[in-house]
Each structure stands twice: as C-alpha cells, then as structure tokens.
C-alpha cells in the first residue's frame, strides 16, 4: 500500500489527496454506508470478546436499529475495572498500545484507552488529512516537502498526541523541532521554546499544538522580541533570518511579528478555544490555524478544512451518535433516563448535541458518552462543495469547565478549592467566560461582604493551583490568572431557582450541576450582578 511519501514522489498528488482527504467528497448516504458497514464489523469483533459481550448485554445486534435499541449507553466507569489494569485479555482486538489522559477528580487518576493497529492506522491517515488541509488553498492543491520542519508542541507518549509522530514516520518523513527523543525528555514549556529557537535556524513549515500556547508565544515575541526565546547560542543563519524579518517589518512599517521570521505553511491546533484565538494567531503567524477535534477515547475525530470554519467528522474512526440537547438535559436530571440518540445523517443545523461514539476497527468503547457537546453549523458546506454536516466543538458537558484544552476543572475540584479557602457553606455557580482575550472561570459566589472579593479570589486561585496541577501549569504557560470571582448577595441563587420554576430544568429543581448553568440562568445572574 503506497504511503503519502511514495505517492508524492511519484507525482501522484491527486491520488494522495483522494486517499487522505477524499472523505470530504462523500455524499451523506455514502458516509452513512461506511459508518454502518464498519459498525457491523465492529459488532462482529465485539461479540467474540469478554468486554464486548458485557457491553452488548449478550444481545449481538444484527442491524443498526437493533444495536441502538438493545445496547445501552456507557461511561468510563463501565470500562474502569478492566482498563485501570490494562486488561488486554477482555478486548476484541489486541491493542498496539494504551493511551492515557487525565482522570476524574477524586475518582480515578487516569483514563486509559486501548489502540488496536487498524485503528491507529486510521488515526494516522486522518491526522495526515488535517496536515494537508492546513497547507492547501483549494481542493486537491497542496505540496509537501520531505523533511519539512515540524514544530510538534504536544504532550509526549502515552498521550494520544505523543504517539502520532512515531507512526507518522511510516507515512512521511518530517524533521521534528526539537527531535522527538529530546523533546520527550523536556517539559512542555522548554519543548516549545526550544522548538521555536531551532525554527530560527531551520525554519518552521508546520506547527501542531495548543492554540493558547501559540497565541502566548506570539504575544511574548511582540512584547519582548527575540528575548522571548533567549538570544544565546543562535546560529548565524538564525540571526540572518531575524534580520531579514526585522527589515521586512520595517519596510512594511509595522511591528515586528513572528510571521516575519518564521514562514509557516500550516498550523494545526487543538483546544476548545481555538476559534477564539484564530484571528490573533493569524495576525502573529500569518496563517490561520486549522482546528482538529479529538480525544483519548475517540482518537482524531474531526477536522476543519481549508475554509477554517466548520469541522467534518471522519467516517471511519468512530460510529457517531448524538444526544439532542433536550434529551441531554433529561438525562442530567434523571441518571436512570436513557436518552434518545440521532445519527449523523439526522443532525439539524443550529442545534447542540452531546456526542456518543462507538469505536470502529477493533476499538473498545461502545455507545460511549464522551462528555463533549458539539453544535451543528450547517447541513453542508456550499462554499467548498462539501455535502456533509459542519460541526464545531462547543465544550465539555455540564460538569467540567475546559480552559484552552489545557485543563478541565470539575465541580468537585472547584468545591475543594473553595473549602480550602475557608468557604464551606456559600452558594456558588461557575461557568466559562472570556476576558482580556483569554478563557477563564467566572465564579459567582454568594458573600456577606462584597468588599472582600479580591481577597477571596486570591485565596481560591491559590487553592485551585494546589488542587489542579494543570490549572497551575496553565497560569505559568499562558501568563494570566484564569479565575475571576464575582460576588452576589446571599440567597440570590435560590431566589433564581424559584423564579425559574420547577420542572423546566433540572437545575431549577436543584439537581443540576453548579458548573455552566443553562443560558437562561446566566442571563438572570448577569442582570443580578449588574444590579
């Protein structure tokens, strides 16, 4: 089977495009045919495994309808007893490796997911599709040089992003900045800085990382110039690149920007807030970032295309189901309620859905509630002539506040930080807000004395740093305090609950999470805070 490198060497750019990016040319019917066909394969594989039998409740469905009717939705707790011990013997297909991500606060430290070989190859092919989309300007038109410099600023193995470069080399040779073996020994901050420093010498063709980091480095570069990266040990070629860039900025009579120094061809970003940073990254780096969406349990799930708007789900990595928002709320109110799902072909523009996946090609998760909300932008992309629904990743579901894809703050973590700050009994709510061009936690806290807000904010912030290490890293990485406390008079929240009326939302009945309350509540709180 020819890989990307061989196809490009043979001058078969069109075939390379078709192989990796051709899925965007599928019709919705063809997309669903692929989904259903691979689901049937997956069910056959699952029926021979211990875990599969357990998840399928011994029902072994023969059709898509039967599958959705008989197999219940699952959460990570269904897999925990096996995956905590990395039990490969219960799986349908032996994994090539196990991937991990951070766990649930106070429940389990890490979440593990097995990656079988066929699934890994699909992930790699889909990641290459994202690379191609990030460097192309129109359908089928791209060029990729062997040994292109790739600043790969993501977490090392056993995180998903860390495994990718090791398998990507079977498809195409990239020169990683810094080289993988060195990068994996460095801490995250050091890895980024070293990557950009090496990029001064070798140039940077591609970047893959977190959008907040790219924005932060751009901002630092503008403020501090080359001092942001450290001037020591720069090669003559690096100085030449800097001088040329500086001259260019002066000729164009504007500030000295990273794009004057590094001529990036493509930027691929993850993180919930990529759309928020999009314009700023383009300003600093001269290229729009291409957002991809994925996760440990779902792999690389979706990518933007060369219009950098909606994302398209890959047809062959997971079987996609979606819980409509109203059903999602019902299941939040009643944990025993089994919400109804819709299929990819039934998505409606403008609506929000909770994502449910069944891994294909021997993966382990079955009708798994990922905990992510997506929104459907449109049924098709008429500008690019794509006949598939365009989605955006909205956020995590109610019980988590995701900051820049860097950390996920749970209700329990926030509650613990409040307790550590000496606030045991106060009523509170929290949601994600944006201020000073950054995402942050907005904590609405009932207090007796509004004057002490600043002091409380400081205390809670310090406590959160202790409770959540990612929160602490975020502060040091992006250089701002991702917490803002707003005080409201005692009793306000209960008053709001009563105003809202029971029955409409679980939240009104006091059952909903304290995090990310419904939009209606947030509007009411905003007006209360103003008053």
């Amino acid at each position: 089977m020819a890989n990307l490198c061989e196809l490009l060497r043979e001058g078969k750019t069109n075939e390379a495009w078709l192989k990796y990016c051709g899925f965007i040319e599928l019709s919705l019917v063809e997309f669903m045919e692929i989904q259903e066909r691979l689901l049937m394969e997956q069910l056959q594989l699952l029926s021979d495994s211990h875990l599969g039998k357990k998840l399928l409740r011994e029902s072994f469905p023969k059709s898509l309808e039967e599958f959705r009717q008989t197999v219940p939705l699952t959460t990570y707790e269904d897999y925990l007893p096996y995956f905590d011990e990395k039990r490969a013997d219960v799986l349908a297909v032996q994994p090539e490796f196990w991937i991990c991500t951070s766990g649930k606060f106070d429940s389990y430290d890490q979440k593990w997911a097995p990656y079988p070989a066929a699934w890994v190859q699909t992930q790699i092919n889909n990641f290459i599709a994202a690379i191609i989309f990030s460097i192309c300007s129109k359908k089928g038109s791209f060029s990729l040089r062997e040994n292109s410099s790739f600043l790969y600023a993501m977490a090392p193995p056993p995180y998903l992003t860390g495994m990718v470069p090791h398998y990507l080399k079977n498809e195409f040779p990239f020169a990683y900045l810094p080289p993988l073996a060195e990068a994996e020994k460095m801490d995250f901050d050091q890895q980024n800085l070293e990557g950009f420093r090496l990029g001064l010498h070798y140039g940077i063709d591609l970047f893959f990382g977190i959008s907040a980091v790219l924005d932060r480095i751009g901002e630092k570069f503008v403020k501090q110039g080359i001092a942001a990266l450290g001037q020591r040990g720069l090669s003559p070629l690096a100085w030449l690149r800097l001088c040329c860039g500086y001259l260019r900025s002066k000729l164009e009579r504007r500030e000295f920007l990273p794009k004057d120094v590094w001529n990036l061809k493509g930027i691929i970003c993850t993180g919930t807030d990529t759309s928020f940073y999009k314009k700023r990254i383009e300003h600093y780096w001269g290229v729009k970032p291409l957002e991809i969406y994925g996760g440990t349990e779902i792999g690389f799930a979706a990518t933007q295309t060369w219009d950098y708007n909606g994302m398209i789900l890959f047809p062959d990595v997971n079987f996609w189901e979606f819980i409509p928002e109203d059903e999602h709320f019902k299941s939040q109110a009643d944990p025993n309620y089994e919400p109804r799902t819709v299929l990819f072909s039934q998505l409606e523009p403008g609506k929000r859905y909770e994502l449910v996946v069944t891994n294909l090609k021997g993966g382990a998760f079955v009708r798994y509630r990922v905990g992510d909300m997506i929104k459907v932008l449109s049924r098709t992309n008429e500008t690019l002539d794509i006949d598939l629904p365009q989605i955006i990743y909205e956020d995590r579901v109610e019980d988590v506040i995701d900051l820049a894809g860097f950390t996920r703050i749970t209700e329990r973590a926030l509650g613990k930080a409040l307790a550590l700050s000496g606030i045991d009994n106060a009523n509170w709510l929290a949601y994600k807000a944006f201020a000073d061009n950054h995402p942050l936690i907005e904590l609405i806290l009932e207090v007796q004395e509004p004057d002490s807000t600043r002091e409380l904010e400081e205390k809670i912030h310090l406590a959160l740093r202790g409770v959540d290490s990612d929160y602490r890293d975020l502060e040091s990485m992006v250089g701002y305090r991702p917490l803002r406390v707003k005080a409201i008079p005692e009793g306000t929240i209960n008053l709001l609950r009563e105003k809202l009326g029971r029955g409409e939302f679980s939240w009104a009945a006091g059952l909903g999470s304290r995090l990310n309350p419904p939009a209606k509540i947030m509007e009411m709180i905003a007006s209360t805070v103003e008053k």
């Binding site: 001058g11 051709g22 599928l26 691979l38 011994e58 060029s143 021997g362």
Partner: protein, 764 residues
C-alpha cells in the same frame, strides 16, 4: 529547411503543453497563425533571400523579417524550456525530473541551433538540422524510456509505410533494370505507378499482419483467442464450464498469476465460484452484498477497479479488515464487475501479471471487452442454471425433488452395474408429523420440514444427493458408500434432527430412518426402494426415532410378531401423545398466556426431574402433567381468569376449582389417568393449607410438589393484568422465604440452583 525553423519551436511548445496537461491553447493557436504569416513573408523574400549552392557550399542572405522569425522561434522554445523547468522545480520528485530533463536539454539544442542560422557564416552548415535531430532523439528516448506517450501506434504506422515502400523498391529494381532501355521518364513513371497501385495494398496488408504479430504479440494472439471464445460462448450453457473457460482464457491472454470469479448466491452475497492459478482454498471466500466493493461495482458505471483505487477512493474506507486480508491474499491488482442491464452478475479478481509488470491501459481495455462478452454468456448460463435448479429442486426445502431423485438413482444403478460400484439409500420419515401439524399449524409444519432438510444437508457429504421424496418423507443417495457407513450417516441425520428440535431435554420432533445398500438389498430400482421402505417401516415399528437397515437377516415371522407387539404399544403411546398435543392446542386456542405458561412450567419441572435423577418414564410423566396442569382452566370464565383487579372470595373459589376440572378431564381418557392425580394436587401446600384436599408434606405426590414450585416461579416472573413481574432474583427470594410452608423445602434449593446456573435467556 526554413519550414523546420518556423515549425519546430511552436510544435515543441504545443507538445510541452500537452505533456504537462496545460489547457491554455491561446499561444499554440497564435503560433500556428504566425507560422503561416512567416511562411508567406518568406515567399515574399522577406526572411531568406538569395539562396545559392556555390562551390564553396550553401550560401544565403537574410531579409529584414528574419529577426522577427528569430524572436518568434526563440520565444516559443524558451517558453517550452521555462515550463519544463518550472515543473521540475515545483515537483521535486524523480517522477518529473527524470522525464523532463531530456526535454529541457532538447529544447536548449533547438534554441541554440535555430539562432545560429541567423549567422550565415555558421548557418551555411546544417547546425539547426543537427540540433533538431538531437532533440528528436532525446524526445524519442524520453517517450520510449518513460512512456511519455503511447508510441506503439505511430511506430507501427511508420514501419508499415517504410517496409512497404522498401518492399516496392526491392520488387521494382529488377523490373526497372529490365526497362532501363526506356529513356522516357514518362514511361518509367507510368510503369512505377501502375505497379504500385497493383502491389501496394497486398504488400501493405501482409506487412501489417506480420508487424501486428511482432508489435502486439500477446494481444494479437488474445484477439484471435477472443474470436474463438466468442464462438465458444454461444455454445456453452453450463455455468461451471463457462466460468472455467473464461478464467482459462484470461490467464492465457493476459498472463495473469491468478483469477477468481465471484457469483451471487441465494442470499445476494457473492461467493467464489471458480479460480485459476490460486490455491483451491480461495473458493471459500465470500463477499458480503454490503461490502464496499460490491456496492461500488453495482452502483458505478465504471466496471474496473485497480488496487490503487481501493487504497485511495474514499468509498473504500468501509472495507473490513478481513476483506483487506482477502485482497492481500489474492494479490488483487484489478477487480472487474460483470454488469448486465445495470445488475451486477459477477466479480472477477485478477492477481498481478506473471511478468510483474503493471496492467497497461490496453490490458484494461481488452479486459473490459472480454468481460463484457463473458458477462452476457455468464448471465445466460446463470439464468439457465437457475431455471434448471428450479426444475430439479423442491420449492420448500430446496432439496432435490422426486423426479431428480429417480433420474439420479437410475444413473447411479447404471454406473454401479457397469463399474461394479456400490452405493446406499436412506429413507427418512418424520414421526407424528400429522399431530405436529395439527398442534402447531401448517406454517410451523413447513418450517419443520425446512429444518429437517437443513439437518440432512449438514449431515451428508457434498457428493451425496438428498431429496424430498414426498410429504414428510426424504431420501438420500450416498454414492460409493457401503451399508455400515450409510447407517452411520443415517444416525448422524437422526441426531441432528433431534438437536434441531430440542426443547429442554425432549425433542419435539423426531425421525425414523431406513437404510438399504446396492447390491446387497437389491439390484434394480424397485428392489432397492422396497427394501429401504421396509427398513423404514421397521424403524417405525420398533419405536420410532431409530435407524434400521432392511431386515434380511431376521426371519419374517419373528419380525411380524415383534412388529405387531410393538405396533400396539406404539399405537397406545401415539394416541397418548396425540391427545396431549390436542389438549395443549385447546389451551393455546383459549388462552395464549396459559399455553406459554404451561410450556415454561414443563421446562422447569423437567429440569428438576432430571436433577433428581428420575427415570425417563418418570420424566415423561412429569413432562405431560406439566403441559396439562392447567387444562382445567378451560372451564373457568375468561373474565375471572384475566381480571385486572383483586378477586372476590367466590371468584377465588371458582379459580380453585380448575384443578378438579382438570382431573375430571384427564380421567375421561384411560391413557392419561396417571396424570389426573398430579394435576389435582399441584396447588397443595407443603404445610397443608393448599387446595383442594389440604394434603401436606410427603402426602402430596412428588410430581405435584415439583409442579407447585415450577408453577409458582413462572407465575411470579410473568407480567399479569393485576401486577408487574418480579425479577428473577426477587422471585428466588420469595421461593426461599416460602420453603417449608408453601413449597417442599428439599426441592426449593435444588430448583434455585437450577435457575441460578442458567443465564436469563437460557431456558429458551
């Protein structure tokens, strides 16, 4: 010469554009226009004037428009070179750089050679011709080496013309030497023209045929084979023969390592039907009708898929891993769909060529031509095959029919008579099938016949012939099989049927089989059929669900006596079973719940009987009693039986009465009296507070105590109009709670063990 200088630059530019796939023809058209203009200017003496051959060589002077021609020529050649260089730089891959460097170098020669013409001192020598010749060689080499264009056709044409004219010259030389005395060129020209007209076509035709053999080689042979195949196809109607011929032809014509043909089966999937060049086990491969390959070939107008298509086309992202493994094992480089009137009739998988060279466009075109013809022939053969199959198969069971069986039997007897061979016959008849039909209905009866046919097919070899002899009788011919082996096969069929109709320990339907062998039991068809029929009769008489050979070794009188005895006993048992089924059907007709309840209670009760190690006869007694334990409910009004709310005391009394009614019904039939007592007492309680007689402990018959437990457990775990079902665990708790009061405390743990050892659906 000058036309060469005018023509070469823009023709070369045109060639470059075509090669790089550029669509801008404006410059090309302009080039043609300017060429005409320069030709006219030259005729007017504005480009080259005063050409003369002197002793010192070729001399000419150039006119005022010559620099314009220089700019024109240099411009077009430079543009060609630039396009080639840009392409080389843009795609820094060996694919283009190797191919285009020859052309770029050639372009440089043309530019330099042409420009040198404008210096008359150098132009007097044929430098431009030399440069163009070098360019032509480089171009030809690039075309040949890297297959830039398909050069076969022009080469063939050029060779045909060249050899024809050479031939004519060789032919005419002696004639001309003879005619040398004629000084008149007119006569010479006339003779030459006449001879050319006469010989040209014949000579050209002969040379062309010869060259086709040399240049097209295999394809020429292929075309000849194709012609022969076309003739052959119209005469073959046997599907297997046709498939083999087609594959053989493909292997020979294209020198393919292997070919595999898939044809649709009854389920609509595609099964491997014939192969050439592969190991035999590839015939086990199947392609699901939902497979991406099948869908694509069925849907698309294109009928050829290459291995690269499967790798790159997004439609094939849905390929299963096992399909990919199959493709890998087959080494499939080309897949061809055989479409007739928009329906996919077959799929051909072709491995690589023996030369390991890739399939060319010509190969694929020839392949399509061949498969189009083959598709029609295969379709006809399939249709014939389907009609033929229909004519010899039984509609319901899909086994062979009575007519085919007789034809085959005749052939087999002839074959064995000639070759002194052997074969055996098995005749099979379903036991109590009429009763089964009466109880479960004819639809269920038909399904049962299909299941029996399946059981037979699963128990015999592919070379054996199984047929439906008529009604519920089946027959099997076992070629090259002796009596003992045939008995073993018959036994396997009997066991398989039992398993298929297994319903918790008992088989709802059984078969009796008779076996006869050629030549021991007969040498004619009539003798054999009589023998095997007699053997079947014996199986029936000996108690059914048996395999027996024809009774040669037992005395007929003994057999008759034994048979009569057995017959009476069996008649009795048959009547008993008939009655039970009839009563069960009556319950079913009245109340489906009670019928289903009775079936479940039977399963539970028989399971307990087995666990207690009771005899087969005892188990049968419990089985029958359980099936009929609620027969008395026939006499209870439906309004009371299915009342959603609580019962009044008089209604409860009425319900209690069903055990007495049941006993009365069963007592009416002498062969069911043994069940009456069990049915009467199945609602007694262990502590003596039950009904109708208030018996306690071991005074209650064991069978009734077993029924009480089974009855209560199923009632608790079923939804009723007046309450929801308990879960299995809740019901078990209840059973344990009432052990010693309502239920026999010794039997309850045994029952709980049985229930817990089975999964919830394990009773089905």
């Amino acid at each position: 010469m000058l036309m060469g200088i005018i023509g070469v630059p823009f023709v070369f530019f045109h060639f470059t554009q075509e090669l790089l796939g550029r669509k801008n023809y404006l410059l090309v058209r302009l080039g043609y226009l300017l060429a005409v203009v320069f030709a006219v200017l030259n005729l007017l003496g504005l480009i080259v004037t005063n050409i003369a051959f002197t002793e010192s060589g070729f001399r000419y002077t150039i006119g005022p428009a010559a620099p314009l021609l220089g700019i024109f020529g240099a411009g077009y050649t430079f543009a060609s070179g630039l396009l080639l260089c840009i392409q080389c730089i843009k795609d820094r891959h060996s694919f283009w750089s190797n191919r285009l460097c020859y052309l770029s170098v050639g372009a440089m020669f043309v530019v330099v050679g042409s420009l040198l013409n404008f210096i008359p001192e150098i132009g007097r020598y044929p430098v431009d011709i030399t440069a163009n010749t070098i360019n032509a060689f480089l171009l030809a080499y690039a075309i040949y080496r890297h297959r830039l264009l398909s050069a076969t056709i022009p080469i063939r044409k050029a060779l045909v013309l060249f050899l024809t004219f050479t031939g004519l010259v060789v032919l005419f030389l002696p004639i001309f030497s003879l005619l040398g005395s004629f000084d008149s060129p007119f006569i010479l020209a006339f003779v030459f023209a006449s001879l050319t007209i006469f010989f040209y076509e014949q000579l050209k035709g002969g040379i062309q045929t010869l060259l086709d053999r040399v240049i097209f080689g295999e394809k020429y042979n292929y075309r000849e084979t194709l012609k022969a195949f076309s003739k052959l196809m119209t005469s073959i109607i046997d599907l297997s023969r046709l498939a083999d011929s087609t594959l053989e032809l493909l292997v020979q014509a294209l020198h393919v390592k292997g070919v595999l043909l898939f044809l649709p089966n009854e389920a609509g999937d595609f099964s491997a039907h014939a192969q050439k060049g592969y190991p035999q086990d590839v015939l086990a491969f199947q392609l699901d009708k939902q497979s991406a390959i099948v869908r694509y070939l069925a849907r698309q107008s294109e009928q050829v898929l290459t291995g690269r298509d499967l790798e790159t086309k997004p439609e094939f992202r849905g390929l299963w891993q096992q399909e990919k493994e199959m493709l890998e094992k087959l080494g499939a480089e080309v897949i061809v769909g055989l479409n007739i009137q928009g329906t996919l009739q077959g799929i051909l998988f072709l491995a690589g060529k023996t030369s390991n060279s890739p399939y060319t466009d010509d190969d694929l075109a020839l392949l399509i031509t061949l498969t189009n013809q083959a598709a029609v022939a295969l379709h006809n053969a399939q249709t014939y095959h389907a009609v033929w199959e229909q004519a010899i198969r039984d509609d319901l069971t899909k086994l062979y029919n009575f007519r085919y069986f007789h034809e085959y039997l005749d052939k087999e007897i002839s074959r064995c008579a000639e070759a002194k061979g052997i074969f055996s016959l098995i005749l099979l008849d379903l036991d109590f099938f009429k009763t089964y039909n009466d109880v479960y209905g004819h639809l269920a009866g038909d399904k049962a016949l299909i299941k029996v046919a399946q059981a037979m097919q699963e128990s015999i070899r592919p070379s054996d012939v199984a047929a439906r002899y008529g009604g519920d009788e089946f027959v099997v011919i076992l070629p090259e099989t002796g009596l003992e082996q045939a008995k073993a096969v018959a036994e396997r069929i009997r066991e398989n049927v039992c398993l298929k109709f297994q319903n918790y320990g008992c088989s709802l339907l059984t078969v009796s089989l008779g076996v006869a062998a050629y030549p021991e039991h007969g040498r004619t068809k009539q003798q054999l059929l009589t023998s095997v029929d007699r053997a079947l009769y014996r199986s029936k008489n000996l108690g059914r669900n048996l395999v027996t050979e024809t009774a040669l070794e037992i005395g007929m009188a003994e057999l008759a006596a034994q048979a009569e005895k057995d017959f009476l006993k069996e008649q009795m048992r048959g009547m008993q079973l008939d009655t039970i089924y009839t009563l069960a059907a009556a319950i079913y007709a009245r109340d489906n719940y009670t019928y289903e309840h009775s079936k479940k209670v039977t399963q539970y009760a028989v399971a307990m009987a087995e666990e207690l190690g009771l005899s087969d006869e005892h188990k049968q007694l419990i089985n029958n009693a359980a099936m009929l334990h609620d027969i008395g409910k026939i006499g209870i009004p439906e309004s009371v039986l299915n009342k959603p709310g609580p019962l009044t005391s008089s209604e409860r009394e009425l319900i209690h009465y069903h055990v007495t009614i049941g006993e009365t019904i069963l007592n009416q039939m002498p062969y069911l009296r043994s069940l009456a007592t069990i049915v009467r007492h199945h609602h007694e309680r262990y502590d003596g507070y039950g009904y109708p007689d208030g018996l306690s402990k071991e005074n209650i018959p064991l069978e009734a105590r077993i029924l009480a437990i089974a009855d209560a457990f199923h009632a608790m775990t079923s939804d009723r109009p007046y309450r929801k079902a308990l879960t299995r665990e809740e019901a078990i708790e209840e059973m344990i709670r009432y052990a010693g009061t309502q239920f026999d405390p010794h039997l309850v743990p045994l029952f709980v063990n049985i229930v817990q050892s089975r999964p919830p659906g394990g009773w089905e």
